[in-house]
Amino acid sequence: MSYAIAAYAITVGTLALYAWMLARERKRLERGGD
């Protein structure tokens, strides 16, 4: 099970991190990009 769980965790974890970074950048730009 560990290989499949590792693949799932890497995938979801990376996508969540990427989404968080995009959301943070969107907020910064919404404030005028300062």
């Binding site: 499949a4 693949a7 890497i10 990427y18 730009l29």
Partner: protein
């Protein structure tokens, strides 16, 4: 170049926000399907990477197709939003492609005994990844130039030629490829269809959500840059 208005951003955000809540729920159900799906008689538990690896491949293909469509629309209509869509498709596509190339070797190590082999499918996937990584590097080094946007649009359209080649290379290579054949109707074991379908749905929604967010980020950046100029 014209950029989307604040109202247009709000309209996109109204769709994206509830989709984000649904996505958080789907990710949990996706994990449950990975755990509860039947164990393959030949490969054992490791075959459950099936519920992660191919959906990432489809997301990567889709991202690169969006880059081509956005690029073609930009060449035709000359509107910056299409170029921004092309960038969003390429970046999310590269993220999915990178994850596909991480999960693939995990599966390979468990079944073939080694992380990587110069198999035609694996080699072409690496090439596909390099092509779109180069696209993103080009865009990051030459931000805001209309000439770069035109060149990138042509590059993005041409790059899609690799997608059918990547997909059908196993058939083209005949028996020389060690990568499993493309999935067809009935090629999954009993009870694996629903988890696979659900995994694809969750990955697709994640893809759409990320492209929408990335597109908005790119459009906001361009609008701020234009105001500052």
């Amino acid at each position: 170049m014209s950029h989307p208005s604040a109202t247009e951003f709000d309209r996109v955000a109204r769709v994206r926000r509830p989709l984000g809540g649904l996505l958080a729920l789907l990710v949990v159900v996706w994990a449950w399907f990975v755990v509860s799906a039947p164990v393959d008689a030949t490969q054992g538990v490791i075959q459950k990477i099936l519920y992660v690896h191919p959906p990432l491949a489809y997301g990567a293909y889709l991202g690169f197709v969006i880059t081509a469509v956005g690029g073609a629309l930009y060449l035709w209509k000359q509107r910056a939003i299409y170029d921004q869509l092309a960038v969003a498709g390429a970046e999310v596509g590269v993220v999915f492609c990178t994850l596909m190339m991480v999960t693939g070797p995990i599966w390979a190590k468990g079944t073939w005994g080694h992380w990587w082999t110069w198999d035609p499918r694996l080699t072409l996937t690496l090439l596909l990844w390099f092509v779109y990584l180069a696209y993103l590097l080009l865009r990051s080094f030459t931000e805001g130039s209309e000439r770069t946007a035109r060149f990138a649009a042509i590059y993005g359209v041409a790059g899609t030629a690799l997608i059918p080649l990547n997909y059908f290379v196993i058939e083209i290579a005949g028996g020389r490829s060690v990568h499993p054949e493309n999935l067809e109707r009935g090629s999954l074991g009993a009870g694996m269809g629903l988890p696979f379908l659900f995994a694809n749905l969750a990955a697709f929604l994640a893809f759409v959500w990320l492209v929408a967010l990335r597109w908005e980020v790119e459009a906001r950046r361009a609008r701020i840059a234009e105001r500052a100029a």
